[in-house]
Symmetry: D3
Subunit: 261 residues, 6 copies
Amino acid sequence: MAQDERTWEAGERRRLQLLTWPDIEEYLQSSRSILIPIGSTEQHGPTGLLGTDALCPEVLSRGIAARTGALIAPTLSIGMAQHHLGFPGSISLRPSTLIAVVRDVVTSLASQGFERFFFVNGHGGNIATLQAAFSEIHADVSYGMQSNRPSLQFQLHSWWMMPSVRARSAELFGEAEGSHVTCSEVSLTHFAHGPHMKSRPLSPKIAPKGPIGDSRDFRSRFPDGRIGSDPTLANAEAGETLYEAALEDLCAAWEEFAKTA
Amino acid sequence: MAQDERTWEAGERRRLQLLTWPDIEEYLQSSRSILIPIGSTEQHGPTGLLGTDALCPEVLSRGIAARTGALIAPTLSIGMAQHHLGFPGSISLRPSTLIAVVRDVVTSLASQGFERFFFVNGHGGNIATLQAAFSEIHADVSYGMQSNRPSLQFQLHSWWMMPSVRARSAELFGEAEGSHVTCSEVSLTHFAHGPHMKSRPLSPKIAPKGPIGDSRDFRSRFPDGRIGSDPTLANAEAGETLYEAALEDLCAAWEEFAKTA
Amino acid sequence: MAQDERTWEAGERRRLQLLTWPDIEEYLQSSRSILIPIGSTEQHGPTGLLGTDALCPEVLSRGIAARTGALIAPTLSIGMAQHHLGFPGSISLRPSTLIAVVRDVVTSLASQGFERFFFVNGHGGNIATLQAAFSEIHADVSYGMQSNRPSLQFQLHSWWMMPSVRARSAELFGEAEGSHVTCSEVSLTHFAHGPHMKSRPLSPKIAPKGPIGDSRDFRSRFPDGRIGSDPTLANAEAGETLYEAALEDLCAAWEEFAKTA
Amino acid sequence: MAQDERTWEAGERRRLQLLTWPDIEEYLQSSRSILIPIGSTEQHGPTGLLGTDALCPEVLSRGIAARTGALIAPTLSIGMAQHHLGFPGSISLRPSTLIAVVRDVVTSLASQGFERFFFVNGHGGNIATLQAAFSEIHADVSYGMQSNRPSLQFQLHSWWMMPSVRARSAELFGEAEGSHVTCSEVSLTHFAHGPHMKSRPLSPKIAPKGPIGDSRDFRSRFPDGRIGSDPTLANAEAGETLYEAALEDLCAAWEEFAKTA
Amino acid sequence: MAQDERTWEAGERRRLQLLTWPDIEEYLQSSRSILIPIGSTEQHGPTGLLGTDALCPEVLSRGIAARTGALIAPTLSIGMAQHHLGFPGSISLRPSTLIAVVRDVVTSLASQGFERFFFVNGHGGNIATLQAAFSEIHADVSYGMQSNRPSLQFQLHSWWMMPSVRARSAELFGEAEGSHVTCSEVSLTHFAHGPHMKSRPLSPKIAPKGPIGDSRDFRSRFPDGRIGSDPTLANAEAGETLYEAALEDLCAAWEEFAKTA
Amino acid sequence: MAQDERTWEAGERRRLQLLTWPDIEEYLQSSRSILIPIGSTEQHGPTGLLGTDALCPEVLSRGIAARTGALIAPTLSIGMAQHHLGFPGSISLRPSTLIAVVRDVVTSLASQGFERFFFVNGHGGNIATLQAAFSEIHADVSYGMQSNRPSLQFQLHSWWMMPSVRARSAELFGEAEGSHVTCSEVSLTHFAHGPHMKSRPLSPKIAPKGPIGDSRDFRSRFPDGRIGSDPTLANAEAGETLYEAALEDLCAAWEEFAKTA
């Protein structure tokens, strides 16, 4: 079980980083839309990869782009993960910093003609800050400060919340899915980065649940980093199933969003 | 149909603004929790009050406090409403400003011993920014900057999303509820501020739906300010039903939250 | 002795929060001016209300509006009160936060056509920061950043410094007036919110005086929170006298300011 | 008529910039106080120097230091003068920038043991922002963020508002003093920087008065930059009189402030 | 000519994103050092990849890690490139944003025990801002704000400025190297990402030189984006030579830096 | 040996602070360029003046202006010197603060027609932050925020790095020059401010070298504040030689820069 090399390569060819400025100038002739993968770098329990939340939107973005021709911006691989800082290797931006980053990325591209921004997100902790960032960007126009700028459009899709993914995930893992270090995300990294996966004993089998506060509180509630999940159930085959489910919904959403421009 | 005066008065007596510092010192002997009403000042269509989103959590806070003894902080009556600025009278804080306000309010109270903050929210547009603000506050501890501060706990309850309210609202208004200038919020202001309500013809009967962007985009999609609603169905009697439904859930949530301290 | 209900109600009807956006659109046909009450939430000694500095401009604003038709923005009830944080219940914004709040409130309203902002202030600690905020807002035009925006005008009136109030206050209380938890402000809250007033023994009778620094320094210089005052002299009758004195000057100032637009 | 060279030189020897770090280490053995001259660089009408507001506190600081041994920090020669930007050569910091500058200067010195900061100010437009800056600095302690720092003390003396200066100024110039490009400040620069003074015809003789807004508004109200003054009356002899009056009060204030440490 | 697969894979295994938190906890037992690749996403002429400046430090980081065991943080692939925004596809952070990002990344890792940060940089425009960021981070300790934090150490290595690279580059390309879209960086991307390279006619053969200002000024001086270079000379064989030269110096620098911990 | 009085006086007459707004209006008829001296206030070892880094660009600016007619802005005498804060008397702005200061100074002058800014710098620690500040200013145009503003041009000349100075310095002092409290800068202050110089025994004769971190790290590596220098070799005669060498290069650079406007 492993990711299809041809799809990956086709996706790679849609990465802005692997294109030239005349390529983008040409793309803008027919589209005002861009796909921005955003994730996080944070602990995923004793066996999950620290990069899980960035790696998942990266592999999905390649798939979307291979099928739809979407242009892929560089992955924003560090997100808002202050609650995970108690575990070594977790890296977080403050919400105010992430807002500034998103504002600068979007206004860079908007100054060149992009108007529609489609975020593929891998981390729940990013959602609130991203929505705040969109409002912060809109505010420039809303307060009359940048009234000659076109109105920008944003969509934020958290891959694990797409209906098709939720349906598959419920069938595959039921209650053991959990809400951090989920079986689904670990499965998707097995599918995409199989050779890197670790195996370590996990105890208890299903991790505890509870509210999320600061990093000190988090580590005391969730000693090994998992919340409510049993990621030993994760596997590459399930990862492929979820990959296909996510692509189905995400490609449809992109097509709908991008055609409006 | 009108709000019960005695309940209102009992709630008023729980307002921090109408107490003295020795009263608060005494309160802190037995509780580390405080209730913070947060709303917005923004257009609510041709007939809804500009203050609707602040007035609703204010009246509910009085009710909660009258029944549970909760301490009520001053209402934060201006929220994040940049998308409404195209309509006169709407006032908004940028997300970055609202984050700073919430940080200062919370750290003021935390410096005196408060540890648990229960927000009763009246505006959907505040949710993302409030959650970002909580993370911004937690980050001080999570980065090791304020490691001698106790871990703070936050809960955010948007009154119209409480299960009992949703159930009543669906029964009362069905599809006509909409998502801005909802029948429910207008009903609640009828119940609490009846004499101020306006009547103007609305057309179309049910307002259009769609995504929310900047204020220019908003006004062109939703010409009279409503989204998906027919607030002519609103009435004080429904308002009282919803008030009771909301209190039922909110009082239970407060009791659970406050007992943990 | 109690506040006149009809005046209060007439004032309530001039609150932006209790109006609709078409009401404001209509108001803007004949006026570019708005009244903004601003206060603070901070200790007022063992017997004064924590909300004193917001409650006073609130009641005065209702009076001004009842007599002049001024439009009243939502009260900014949390101000710059860092020096009071040593007493439980005090809540402060940092100067930089309050500047951002005032900037956002003013630019929200300016984007809709308001040009003249009349602040009725209840707290000495707000004055410097408000004036800095006005300059921060002016700077956008002065540096050539927002050159297409009309020039905005600000007036800041601290009610206790109006000449008529100072004259009455000197007659009524002489030296016992003090400079924090003054007899005047406590009297005005007796007049407006009588039922909430507390009585506790105060010692010494007249509180000490001195410079204001950080909250630690403040609490050690002024152990019960008062500065130079003996608020046991306060009473509702004096409050009514001061209320009338303040309205006399404030209504005249509003009429002069608002007619220029 | 010219400034006394020996006093100037004695003052120069108290400038931090002309001392070494062991000199300051030794000074801190016996004093925790420092004098900070702060001014502005802004138009002073057709004949007044752009640097007037910084040059005045500079010369006064040399005098204070010569007589009292005070240590003089570098002059902050650019202040908050957004309203003057319509006249070439005016330079302003935004209030938020000046707050950051004052915070950094003060916390630099506080980290080495300074606790008492005596500002000699030459510009009315700085006053509000400086007071806001002091509160911003105090807030670090007041919110419990830097609780191990000693409480800092600030005094702000605007030289032209010292009682002795006001008395002399009223005798010398009466109504013609005005409020910008005053006879007093121009006289003091004649005394201190005589050779640089310009003579140009001024019309009207006494400039208009009025409120201060943004730079566009300012230039239209005050076409040549003066407010209410007739600086043709200024002269070096008056400058010396005012210099002595200012020193009398400022030296007394410094002695009182610095002895407390 | 292509990059060695085994070296790449060995480097991949040193990426923090592909490890788990217990792996990092173990790493911290023997090292306090981490390698952070930082680049930019900006136009590289008609034929160079937009991601060149991030792709180069990425491939070099894998090489360094494969040979030394260094731990690799996620690539910061968007840098300070405001001057390139006139060309579609360029994305920039403001200097103030990049400072915030670096501060958050470093303080995240420092809270877990990292003390030594080795940046491998691919973009000249990042250098000043990165050095400013290091000072901003140090300032927390220097002002006495975070005095219980260990002193952090930073090194910044711009790969094309390493002595061995400069020597090889001068031999290979002489004057045609240029200063943007250099033959060296294009060669290194040929070596690492060969299949993606474009070929388009370039005119003039060697691009003009000049100072760098804002994006409008940049595009008018350098119409196709190159500065002083003829990247048609670039090739994968030269890329491999430069890769080996860079690794030689960078591995030595890392070994020296990391052993000090 | 002492500085030529006539040159100094001629330079003084070119200081913006000693001119009037009509003088600047006239200057702008023929030039869009201005010279901004920038320094630092920081320890310069047991014998060097704390103001060395500001005093040097000040005296050089007078010389440049006397010879070329350049207009001199007020000296920015406090720079980015966080690493020196461990020595009493050092004062620093954070990089983010210095960026804001430079932005405000430049945009003040740009709003009046200045377009070319020539910084004469006295402190190595300022260089990175100044370059970041220039990019921050350019970004307003580059992101399309201030597109109607002319493109601004910046040059930054650190006087001790001018080729003629480096040549003279190498001849005069060789290895003993060092990199902080250099023989050259101390010589220049002897030449310009001779009477203030101190003599104290220094040990070791040549100070140690090493990397620069936070202030705590700095003081432990460089106990008396010097880095690699033996400033006992400094003298006024060498100062004059270096002054002439610097002026030669700086005047040529100014002439070239200013003629382009």
